[in-house]
Every structure is written in C-alpha cells, then in structure tokens.
Amino acid sequence: MQQLSGVNDMVVRFANVNGTGSASANNLFAKSIVRMGIPVSPKNIFPSNIQGLPTWYEVRVSEKDYLGRRDGVDIMVCVNPQSMMKDVQSVRPGGYFIYDNTKRLHEEFIRDDIHYIGIPMMELSMKNYRDPRQRQLFKNIIYVGALSLLLDIEFNVLEDMIKDQFKKKEKLIPPNIQALELGRTYVRENYEFPLQLRLERRDLVGDRIVIDGNTACGLGAIYGGATVVAWYPITPSTSVAQAFERYANRLRIDPETGQKKFAVIQAEDELAAMGMVIGATWNGSRAFTATSGPGVSLMNEFIGLAYFAEIPVVLINVQRGGPSTGMPTRTQQSDLVSTAYASHGDTKHVLLLPANPKECFEMTAQAFDLADRLQTPIMLMTDLDLGMNDHLSPPLKWDDERKYDRGKVLNAEDLERVKEFGRYLDVDGDGIPYRTLPGTHPSKGAFFTRGTSRDEYARYTEDGAAYVRNVDRLVKKWNTAKTYVPAAELYQDGKESDTGMIFFGTTTYAALEAMDILEADGLVIDSMRLKAFPFGAEVEQFVEEHDQIFIIEQNRDAQMRTLLINELDVNPGKLISVLNYDGMPITADNIKGQIINELMPATVNHK
C-alpha cells in the first residue's frame, strides 16, 4: 500500500471533543515544530459550544513557508468517536489514522488505503493517573508523545516547552513529561518509527513569532494610545478587548498608585459600545471597539453619526460567516460592503485590510492616527481566521521616535490666535476641518455636535445649499483619505502580464501560493494586494493596465469586486471572481482551479 512520505510538508489534523483540554496539547505539538525551525500554520476548527461537540485542530507544516490552508489530511489524530466516520474519510490515500485503540476499532471505520496506528491513550491514562480531569488531560499529552516519535519531533524541544508552560506550577512538569513518555514508550514497543512522513530541524522561522491577530490588534491599540475601550462580547472578536485589557493591566498601571491609565467598559450591547467610543473620542481620548458583522449591523446608526458629525472612531471588525447569526465560528470576508457603506444616507468609510498579525498590530496603531487625522470612522477588517488562529508572523515592531498624529485639534492658545473658529470650515482645502475638545477655552471654540445638518459654524440649518456644501466637503475629505491610507502592494516590478489578480487579508497566503503553482505551470499573473479602502491611484492604474483581473475573496457576492466597480468606474466584465465562502480559509488549490477553469476551460478535465 502507498505510504505518504516526505519531510516537513504535511497536514496533521486532530479530532477532539470540545472542552477536554485538547487545545493546549495541540498547541504544544504545533509550537514544537516551530521551535525546530519549520514553518507551520495551525487552524482551530471549532463549534459554537463550550463542551461536548466535535472540534478540530489542523496543522499545516510547510518547508516552502506556505501558511495558507491546504485541503486533505495526511495524518489524522482521532480522539473523538462522534466524528470518526467523517474523520476516517478525510484522510488522503496513503495517509495515517492515529486513534485510541483502548477499544477495538469497528470494522466500518476500516479503509484499505490508509494506515492505522492505534495508541491505547485512555488505557494508559487510566493506569497512570487517578484524578478524572487529569486522566482526560493527559490522554492528550500521551498522543503528542506518540507523535513525537512517529514524526521525529525533538524530545528536548517538547520538554522545554512543558517547563516553560508550567514555570509557575512546577508540580505539573513531571506528570506532563511522564505522559509524553507513555506515548513514546508505546510507539517504541509497537511500531516502526519514524513514519516516512516526518519532520527535520531547519532554520526557516528566523525571528518570527506565533501569535493570533486579535492579540496583535489588542497590542496595537495599547501602542496606538487607546485609553477607552468599549465592547460587547461576540465571537470571533472577544479576545481583542481581552488582549488589550490583559496587556494594559501589565503595561498601563501607574506604578505609584496602582491606578489604571485606561478604561475598559463592557457595554450592554454593541450600540452602547459604539456610543461610548464616540463619546470618548469626541472628548479627546483615543478609543475603539471590536466586534463582528452582527455588531456592525447594530452600530449602523452611530457609525452614520460619527461619519456626519466627523468624530474619530476605530472599529475592529473580526469578520465571521454571515448573514444573520450565520456561522459564528467560521471565517469569511463578507462584511466588506456592509462596513464600507455602513449607515443610512450617503456614507462611506475607510477600511484597513491586514493580512497577518504584524499588520494587525501596525494597522490598529495606525487606525488611531488616521481616525484623528481624518475625523471619521476607521474600520480594521480582519476575520476569524486571522483573529483567532495562531499565525507565524514577523515580529511586532515599534519605533520609539514615532509620535501620535492627533490631527487638527485646536488648543486654548490656538483659539486665542485664530480669527474665527468654524467647526466645519474647510480651512486647508483638504476637506478636513478643525475641532476643539470640551473644556478647552472659557469663551472660544465651543460648538454643538449633532447628527442634523448644520452650517460651517455647527449651527443647525435646513438650508439645502449649506447641506450640499457640507456633504461635498466630505467627498473632498474622502479623496484626501486616499493619500493617507496604506498603498496596495504589488508583487512584480512593472507590468509582466495582461492578466492580474487582486486579493487582500487572509486570502493572501493562498493567493501567493497559487501564484507560485501557476507560475510553475508557466502561467504568469500580475498580483496586487489591497491594504485599504478607498483605493489609491495605484489600484486604479493596476485595474486600468490589465485586461482581465481575478478578484479573490471569501464571500458569495464578490463584495470587493463590487467596491472596485463602484469606486473605480471600471468595466465589470474585466473583473472575474474567485470565491470561497464555505467558512473554511480559502486554499491555493481552490484558487488555482478556478483560475485555470476560467483561462483554459478545456484543460481542466485533463489535469
């Protein structure tokens, strides 16, 4: 029988029961590979549930540094009888099925084209541990021990990780090491090892870190100077506010008084969360909220107020599968239109599109500068895959010379100096007016903030001409925004092909991998990664220059394509959609298949 083989190139999937402590064992597995200098990309595929339902953890190991998801499972570690049938079927021919053989595997689970490796995880755990919770937890460590021998994971790497993990609970180190040994001993006595599919130390990780996007966003907000966070719990964004608070409790405490240089308010709902952000930024703090699609829907009215009254707002949207409650624990890029044009009336908002945790950090910090500079909502569009999964990311960097850009705010001295203050006067010709903060000056600079139409001096008016002047100035500001937001990234010097592809966010991993595969097949496609909306001149040029452009995105309705058509006045026939919206991160094979199908429909069947 065929045996999958190779070094540092595989997908290992763990099938667990939610709430049984498998996450830390699986994490131990993934991180130990990183510590051997090999790139990995782990994905948590979890249910909307706390305990009892099936959950999977998938680790792609790639010597070529491909960090996107890949279809097909090479090694399945199955410790969940509930999902076993599906799990057996998902293994690629020649792959390995590792299972708990404490009980005999029923015949219906036997395929003749995959290899079965039974480890009596439960039996070993029952024999060696007494406490029921421990028995459950160490069962997971036992399979990591078994895998370490089967795949050639260096034992001292695992040992060091266990020691790091339990630095503060040293008592737990020996039983964990013992559990690893139990798995190893069983493999040593019963199987040939390592498998033909195995690992080997490399030096490919460099200074990179393993971090999830939500933590990076939370840190970005700390470094960006946020002092007020208002939020309402919603998967998959919850850990953004939590990460902010965790780090703030370490980094933002007054050493003398023990008091906090920040405030985190868990609001009563998303509406209130957005209201609190608006109140705080109106009053001169940097503030943000983190939410997901349903939260943005609820915040719509307030987002329109912030746009129209020109109040800086930072909103982190960790997108999940919609519409409605949708697939709360699956990923999508399906809030682009609803966020870009959130609220009634003529509104449009700046979007930032990070593709990895480093960018989550940088763009979150940058979002506060942009919000202050442009006096408008800035939406950071991440997704569940980026936010909740660990990613191998370049390290987070901060330049100590960097100063916050607080934008056009007049202080008391400025107010003494300026001839006249009009909150909505376009003094500089860039569409961005000057603002004042409450409490600044005893007799100058006070104005009334409102969502109703007003003149240049913030006085209520229903005069149509004044209204038009105001909303036209907002368009001017929108055009100014194009010069402030991060430019799109091009992956070639100059034009190399008449065909292009455009992608953004977490689609980037798979798109770059697909680009490599296509190039190996002799197909050169120019590529561009969008980093922001509105689109800059470089995006307009790229679209102009190419005859057909694939727009790769993770939603059903080709929302980025819609934004491109809407904002750039482009011929829609040029823009061809490559879509994936099943809730799982898009794969390179999928992209390649859709592109080939479009370019060479006849060849597809032969491949």
Partner: protein, 350 residues
C-alpha cells in the same frame, strides 16, 4: 427671524463669584412651543449654573432626540454640546466621562428618549453609577412627532386626538430607586424654587443623579384629562421637603424649626438642607423612599423633591480604579510602553 441671541450685555448686570452674568449661561432662543415646560427647565439650569459659579466651558451638555433633547441649544452656549441619536445619550456620556473625569456632564432626555427607545442605556448608566446629571423632561407624550402616548403616560390618559392610553405607565423614579441609583429626585417645571437647588445638588453628587421633571406639553398633552397637564400636576403635587442647596463656602442661612430639617452633606463639602414636609422621611434611606413613593402613588399624588441620596456613592471612575488625571490628557510617554517592552512581548511568542 433669528434664533441667535445678541451677545451684547448691559455693563451693570450682576455677576457671580467668577465674573459671569446670568446671560453668559444662556443659549440660543428657544424654538419650542410658547409655554413649553421644557423652557422653564432650561431656565432653571441656567439659574443653577449661574448661582453655582460654574465655568460654562467646564460643563458638557448632552442629549438624545426629541423636543427635550433640543433644549441644550437653549442654555449654556459656551459649553460644548452633543445632540446624539435617539435614546443613546447615556452611552455618549459614558464615553465622554471616561475620557475626561474633570468636567460636569449634564444629560437631557425625554420620556420617549429614556423610557422607550433608550431604556437599556438609561438602566445601564444607573448600574455603572456614571457621574452625570440626567434630567428627563417628562411630558408623557411624543411632542416632535405630534402627540403619541409615551411609556410614562398614565393608563387612561387621553391624547390630543382622543386616543386613550390602555397601558400602565413606567415610573422612572421608582425604577431608578429599584435599580440602585445614588441620587433620585422629582420636580415640576413650574416649580423653579424646588428645581434649581435640586439641579445644584445633582451637579455636586459624585454619581448618577437622576431628576424626573414633569414638564407639561402645552400643545399635545395639556388637556384637563391628562395626568401630565399643568392643572393636574399642580393639583396633585406632594413635596417631600423644601430644599436649599448650600455651597461649601456659604454659611447656612435658612433656619428651620428643630426636628423638621435635615442636612445632607455632599462629597465636595456642600450641603443640601431639607425642610421636611412629610413625616418619617429620610432621603438617605432607599427603602423609605420606595415606600413613600408607592403611598403617594396610591393616593394619586405626585411625590416631588429629593427622594433619595446615597452619600457613600462611588462613581464609575472610582469603580474602575482609573488614574485621577483625565485619560484624554495622557501623552505618548504615559501610554506607549516602547520598543523594548514590545521586544519582550515578541519573545513570549517564540
């Protein structure tokens, strides 16, 4: 016609301790209906701030949507104002207060804005003991959309178009007491003598100070059958006490007969002196306030005055243990942990 008040002032106008005239606390000319109770409340706010010698720019005025929420335009033109969206003023106030704890926050809302669309935010602002004055200008109807019943309209009351309200009313004062509000008062727009010191006491209170002010709608809800009309309210008022607000630096000048007065000391050293009209009345006892409120209600009377005050009130910033400096005044050096700290963080993810 213009609704902007001329800024010319007679040089001989009396000034308060910090050199401002009463006119310095006024706003634009009201565009509400002539005789609207809300305008009297605006007047009381102007009077209260003038007498307290509050620097106008150290106060922020906030509102939601509705007739009542328009009033911040008509007072304190040297204060920043924020006319937000319907029922959501409390969240704006919460954010604003978190950003700068040094200003006085005056929120104005209506019975529609608070008791219906904004009920959730109102409740949670109380729960967090947000340090603000929250005035509901309560007329039992939606004025700006022409007279529909609101959630505070009493059962059986009749709107201008003759519709009888079949539903029981929400008593915001009773609810605020139950929710644990740390300052609860009720007054009447036509009773400035009571309202001005109540507003002053509310501004001095460190926490959520709720004032339910009955304010008849002359256009849509002032018929004799309405329980929110001038005539009805005047006929059914039952004041708990007369109130004097005594700023810290002032001597107590009002003298009441022994046993009938009560001094409530506020955190900033000022005091509220109450001349009790109701027997067995203690405004620092929540239970007694709730009981008296229900007794009055069962007799068809409207209990007014300072109904409850918690002298131990700890506001949101105290509960959150934030620094005393306003958060909006913190700079990079206070906020940014720097590159070296970030490198340590990176190391923890390797």
């Amino acid at each position: 016609m213009t609704y902007i008040r001329p800024s010319f002032r007679h040089p001989g106008l009396p000034k308060n301790d910090i050199g401002f005239t009463r006119a310095d606390y006024e706003g634009a000319i009201s565009t509400l209906c002539a005789g609207c109770g809300h305008d009297s409340i605006s007047g009381a706010i102007v009077q209260a701030c003038y007498e307290m010698s509050l620097e106008p720019h150290r106060l922020a005025k906030l509102s939601g949507i509705g007739c009542s929420s328009k009033t911040p335009t008509y007072f304190l033109s040297h204060s920043h104002g924020f006319n937000s969206v319907h029922g959501r003023m409390p969240s704006i106030a919460t954010g604003a207060y978190m950003a700068n704890r040094d200003l006085v926050y005056l929120g104005v809302s209506g019975d529609g804005d608070t008791a219906s669309i904004g009920m959730g935010q109102f409740v949670h602002a109380i729960r967090r003991n947000l340090n603000m004055v929250y005035i509901v200008m309560n007329n039992g109807c939606y004025g700006l959309t022409k007279g529909q019943h609101s959630a505070t309209a009493d059962a059986g009351s009749k709107s201008k178009d003759g519709a009888i309200n079949p539903f029981q009313s929400i008593d915001l004062v009773g609810m605020a007491l139950e929710l644990g509000a740390t300052f609860v008062g009720r007054s009447f727009s036509g009773d400035k003598t009571q309202l001005v010191p109540l507003i002053q006491a509310a501004m001095s209170h460190p926490g959520f100070a709720f004032l339910d002010v009955l304010s008849p709608c002359v256009t849509f809800n002032n018929k004799p059958e309405s329980t929110k009309s001038y005539d009805y309210v005047r006929a059914h008022l039952e004041a708990t006490a007369t109130i004097d607000f005594v700023p810290e630096k002032k001597e107590i000048t009002v003298d009441y007969a022994e046993g009938s007065s009560k001094n409530v000391k506020l955190h900033d050293g000022s005091r509220i002196q109450l001349h009790k009209l109701a027997p067995n009345w203690d405004p620092t006892d929540r239970g007694s306030a709730v009981n008296r409120l229900y007794e009055a209600k069962s007799k068809g009377e409207i209990l007014t005055g300072l109904l409850y005050i918690d002298q131990e009130s700890r506001d949101l910033h105290e509960l959150e243990n934030t620094v005393h400096r306003p958060l909006n005044s913190l700079q990079e050096t206070d906020l940014n942990p720097g590159a070296a700290a970030l490198e340590n963080i990176n190391e923890s993810f390797r």
